[in-house]
Symmetry: C2
Subunit: 207 residues, 2 copies
C-alpha cells in the first residue's frame, strides 16, 4: 500500500479528505497541529475522528511567537460575516508551515503523497488555499528534497461546501463528530465564518 500524509484538523474538509484518501487505497497517517488555536476542542475532535477512521496520527506542537491573527489571539474578534477578502483568521504562511512539516514527515516515512483539504471556493479569501499556491509548493518539493516524487493532492480545492458534504455522506464521514467552529464552546457558536460555511454546506448538501 502507498503511504500518504494527511494534514488533519478533524473539521469537515480535512475529514472528508482523509476518508477520500483511504477510499483511494492510501495507507494514511494524519498530521495534527497544535499551533495555538483559540481552543483545544479542535484537537480533541481531530484525535477522535482519526481514531474512528482507524488511522494513526502524529501531533506537532508549534508556537508562533508573533501575533496578528484572530485565530490565535483571543483578544481579537472573530469575523462573523462571510467575505471574499482575506479574513482576520488568516495566519501568515500557515499552510506553508503545515505543508513543510508534512513534507518532512512524508520524506521520513517514505510516503508518496500529501493530502490537504484546502478549498478555494465559497468565500475563501485565504491566498494559501488556491491552486497556484499548491503548484508552487510542488516545485519546492521537486527542487528541495531527496524524495522529489512526493505529490501534493488537494481533492476538494474546487468543490463547494455542499459538494463536500455530499461526498462525505457517500464516503461514510462521521459528520457528527467533526468540528469546524473557531470557538471552543460545548456546541458550535453558529456565527463564526467557519460555522456559517459549514451550515450553508449542510443546508445545500442535504437537498
Amino acid at each position: 500500500m502507498t503511504r500518504a500524509v494527511v494534514l488533519f484538523s478533524g473539521g469537515l474538509d480535512s475529514t472528508t479528505t482523509l476518508y477520500l484518501a483511504k477510499q483511494q487505497g492510501y495507507k494514511c497517517c494524519a498530521l495534527i497541529f497544535d499551533y495555538g488555536q483559540r481552543h483545544i476542542r479542535e484537537l480533541r475532535s481531530a484525535v477522535a475522528v482519526a481514531k474512528r477512521a482507524h488511522v494513526p496520527y502524529q501531533s506537532i506542537k508549534i508556537k508562533l511567537p508573533w501575533k496578528g491573527s484572530s485565530l490565535l489571539d483571543k483578544s481579537k474578534k472573530l469575523p462573523v460575516k462571510l467575505s471574499r477578502n482575506i479574513p482576520s483568521t488568516y495566519v501568515p504562511a500557515r499552510n506553508t508551515i503545515f505543508l513543510s512539516f508534512a513534507l518532512s514527515y512524508a520524506e521520513a516515512i517514505g510516503a508518496k503523497a500529501i493530502f490537504i483539504g484546502a478549498n478555494a471556493v465559497d468565500f475563501s479569501g485565504y491566498p494559501d488555499c488556491r491552486p497556484a499556491f499548491y503548484r508552487a509548493f510542488q516545485q519546492v518539493i521537486r527542487r528541495g528534497t531527496k524524495a522529489k516524487q512526493i505529490k501534493v493532492l488537494t481533492p476538494l480545492i474546487k468543490m463547494s461546501k455542499a459538494e463536500i458534504v455530499k461526498l462525505g455522506i457517500k464516503l461514510g464521514v462521521p459528520h457528527a463528530i467533526t468540528w469546524s467552529c473557531y470557538k471552543g464552546g460545548a456546541k458550535p457558536c453558529g456565527v463564526c465564518d467557519s460555522c456559517r460555511l459549514r451550515e450553508k454546506g449542510f443546508r445545500e448538501g442535504n437537498n
Copy 2:
C-alpha cells in the same frame, strides 16, 4: 529602515549573512531554531552572536517526531568525510520548514526580505541549499501570502568557504564566537563535515 528576517544558527555562514544584511542597511531580526540538534552549544552561540551584533532575536522550538538524520539522532554516526552525495546529517525538508517560519514572521512584522546563508558550493550535497530551491520558494511566497513582495535572499549561495571567510573578515564578523561543529563539546571536534569545511575555509581564506 527596511526590516529583514535572518535565519540564524550562529555558525560561519549565517553570521556572515547577518553582518552582510546589516551592512546593506536592513534592520535585522534573527530567527533561531531549536529543532533537536544533537547539542545546545549551537543555540548558545547563536544567542551570543546575535547579542554581539546588537540584533534582536526570536527563538522557535520545533520537535520533529520522525527520525532519520544523524544531526538529530545521537545514536547515529556523523559523517567524517566530505562528499558530494546527500550526507546523513540531511534533515528532510529542514530549510523548507525554516523558510516557512521565516515567511510567517516576515509577514507578521512587515519585513521585506528573508536572508538565509545557504551555500551550494564546497561539497554541499543538500538539495535545499541550491538556487533552484530558493527560486521555487519565492513562487510559494508570491502565490501563498498577503505580502507577496517578500524576497528570499541567499547572498552566499555561490561563494566558497574561503570567500565567506574573507567577506566575514571585511565585515567584522566575530569569527571566534561563531560555532560550526555538529558535536557539542567544549571545543570543535575537528573531524565532522562541518568542522572540515570550516577549517578548509579558514586555511584558504586567510591566504
